[in-house]
Assembly symmetry: C2
Homo-oligomer: 414 residues x 2
């Protein structure tokens, strides 16, 4: 197993406000070619710390990949220190100097002399072209088949450099197979995290050439299956088998795979079945409409809707009867139903869906606590209301409300 | 300056799917008491890697704080390795054993014998109570005024343990002042990141007892000012002065501070001025309404609105004339205005606001490219339309559209 150690440099990464997305990207990408990340370090712009992290990485892994510190300023020292640790000298590379001068010329700016250090490299290094900035990267082979790879900090520069150059160099150096492992995310809505975990316990226990990772996010449970066969084809076979097994266990609560979203899946169902939709939202205030229209082309099935945040809007726009509001309240099964029928009538769509609830933090009572939400779904031969009790803060309750409405519609359309 | 090194353990943190939130939390919290994080490491559940990271941390910093690996299983080794590196032995602490047995008893479960290791500690350690799980933490003083601190991995356990115990222990050990530095975020909407950077160049250049960090996020620019005086009071004085300086330079584009959001600021203005609002959304599909109702109590000023995603909805609900749609198109100054007047009339509110545009990726033309958005704002003695050209993907264009509408309203209400 080829091992990698990642180093991210930059004082801003230690302040707790900037996220180190490079190491996340690299971890995923390296896994695809069968390279295992065994550790990572974040260090400030401090020569000693960078050197120590490099030595630590080289002591434990086959390759060390650094990001950041390739700029032209005095603080940018990663390449220099990498060469020091490797015991090699740098010299000015003419082709790189020319590329740099050209870069500035095209932008009608004079090149500051300080930038020249970005054209310095050791002879044995492969220079990695940066198409989106001034800092080239470096692929520096050492003895013992080890490598130090230096990439710039900005993800929009580092990511294409990895994809277009580093990956192939690694595959060649370590005789790797592109994409040995295969992975898929199975997306679930409905059951909670511990319930999914319990239901998948057996699949997890049996795992030897695959692994499962559960991630709960905004009411969805994402199960990432990573299969690790002896080559990519075997991995795909394993992955397919495990995915089927899980999909069978979880049944209809699996709404999609990988990048699928509830909105996209529901949108496709509406489109395929040629059904049109309108929404009436109270506590979600437009969030359901926003989710539906996240999908390009949603105008094919989405008429629009109304945000009836006030009782007055419920009455005037949707024709909810004031008697209903008085007798049962705005948050009730009855109001939800009248809202859904109201918007369906107003829009002339096949389906109307409504949400009314108490998102909090204020406005709850013993009888109607924060988190109580009614969702109604109506259409020809269809009338359904669901009473939900969500736990969470205002944002969580609103997110779950909108997603539950989508999921209710999905289950209805299936 | 007291220095800290952070170690997060857990193989899942190396896969690129689970975020290491503990180190982000600790970085922020330590900064508040004047402790500087000089580096951090993420390591798998591997004894050698954990030991190496601990040694590296102790070589460079005054304290090493680990999170994760305090559970009962064989993989949970952090505490054991910390003691090994420190050269101290552990023994069973009776009080802790009792607490553990009690924990299980209250949950009507037998304690697995494997959990006993969670009651093992060195004599010289201070045990940190975990009120939300079985794993206690450890505060282990070493020679040379160094400390190793071990906390559990789940943030809901580690965070209160830091807040309630570790912080005070650190203040005592290192004679720190609680909250020496003072910081504030200045929130800006309108100008771009490089424009803000240019405008604040002088303030940045003058910085010696404060620093500025710019973070662009969803069209907003957040400037975090951190002032570092000799004590908290001096820091506050510096902070106030720098904040005033920046606010003066940036003028009305500063919409708030710290946790302020555009929605909250606009909501407060509407509430104070006793004005009511209704929205008509096309390309944002409910996103503006969602943002407005992110704020609890928004029903005081927000009537609701309409999502007129289809032309039919624009005509039927808002009375946009089909001649207007035919002559100028749905994405036009004229349609935006009729939408805004339409929803104001429908709702009977003081103000009507509308958004219509092309969010992409499809639907653009040479004349009306993706990113073209019209925002109209109408009321008594008020009629305003803005043509905007946003760059970005669908989500970015929609976010900027909704936020720009809020900002236009904010500037109008000021």
């Amino acid at each position: 197993m080829v091992k990698a150690y990642l180093i991210s440099t930059g004082t801003e990464l230690l302040l707790g406000s900037t996220l180190d997305t490079n190491s996340i990207f690299l971890s995923r990408k390296l896994a695809e070619i069968g390279v295992k990340v065994i550790g990572k370090s974040v260090v400030g712009d401090n020569p000693d710390s960078i050197a120590m992290a490099l030595r630590m990485g080289l002591a434990a892994a086959d390759m060390v990949i650094t990001t950041g510190g390739l700029g032209p300023t005095r603080d940018d020292l990663t390449k220099e220190i990498a060469c020091e640790v490797a015991g090699v000298d740098m010299k000015l590379i003419e082709a790189e100097e020319e590329r740099l001068r050209d870069y500035f010329q095209r932008r009608h700016r004079a090149m500051p002399e300080i930038n020249l250090k970005q054209a310095m490299f050791p002879e044995q290094a492969t220079i990695i072209t940066n198409h989106f900035g001034t800092a080239p990267g470096m692929y520096l082979p050492l003895k013992n088949n080890q490598v130090i790879i230096c990439l710039p900090g900005p993800p929009r520069e580092a990511e294409p450099m990895y994809e277009n150059y580093v990956k192939d160099l690694l595959i060649k150096t370590y005789n790797l197979t592109d994409r040995r492992s295969a992975s898929r995310i199975i997306r679930i809505f409905g059951p909670g995290e511990s319930q999914v975990e319990e239901m998948l316990q057996e699949v997890m226990d049996q795992a030897h050439n695959y692994n499962l990772a559960l991630l709960a996010s905004e009411g969805e449970i994402n199960v990432r299956v990573t299969a690790e066969g002896k080559d990519y084809n075997e991995s795909v076979v394993i992955l397919t088998k495990v995915t089927e097994q899980i999909s069978q266990i979880m049944g209809k609560s699996v709404f999609g795979y990988d990048d699928d979203t509830l909105s996209a899946v529901v949108g496709k169902l509406l489109d395929n079945r040629n059904r049109s939709l309108a929404v009436a939202e109270s506590c979600t205030g437009g969030f359901l409409g926003k989710m539906i229209t996240d999908i390009p082309g949603s105008s094919k099935y989405f008429w629009g809707g109304v945000i009836t945040y006030s009782n007055q809007a419920k009455e005037n726009l949707l024709g909810v009867r004031s008697a209903t509001l008085q007798e049962y309240g705005a948050v009730s099964r009855e109001t939800a139903l009248e809202m859904a029928w109201g918007v369906k009538r107003l829009a002339g769509t096949d389906i109307g869906i409504s949400i009314t609830g108490i998102a909090g933090p204020e406005g709850g009572s013993e009888e109607k606590p924060v988190g109580l939400v009614y969702i109604a779904l109506v259409g020809d031969n269809l009338e359904q209301v669901r009473e939900m009790h969500f736990v969470g803060n205002r944002n969580g309750i609103r997110t779950l409300s909108a997603k539950s409405a989508l999921d209710l519609l999905r289950l209805q359309l299936l």
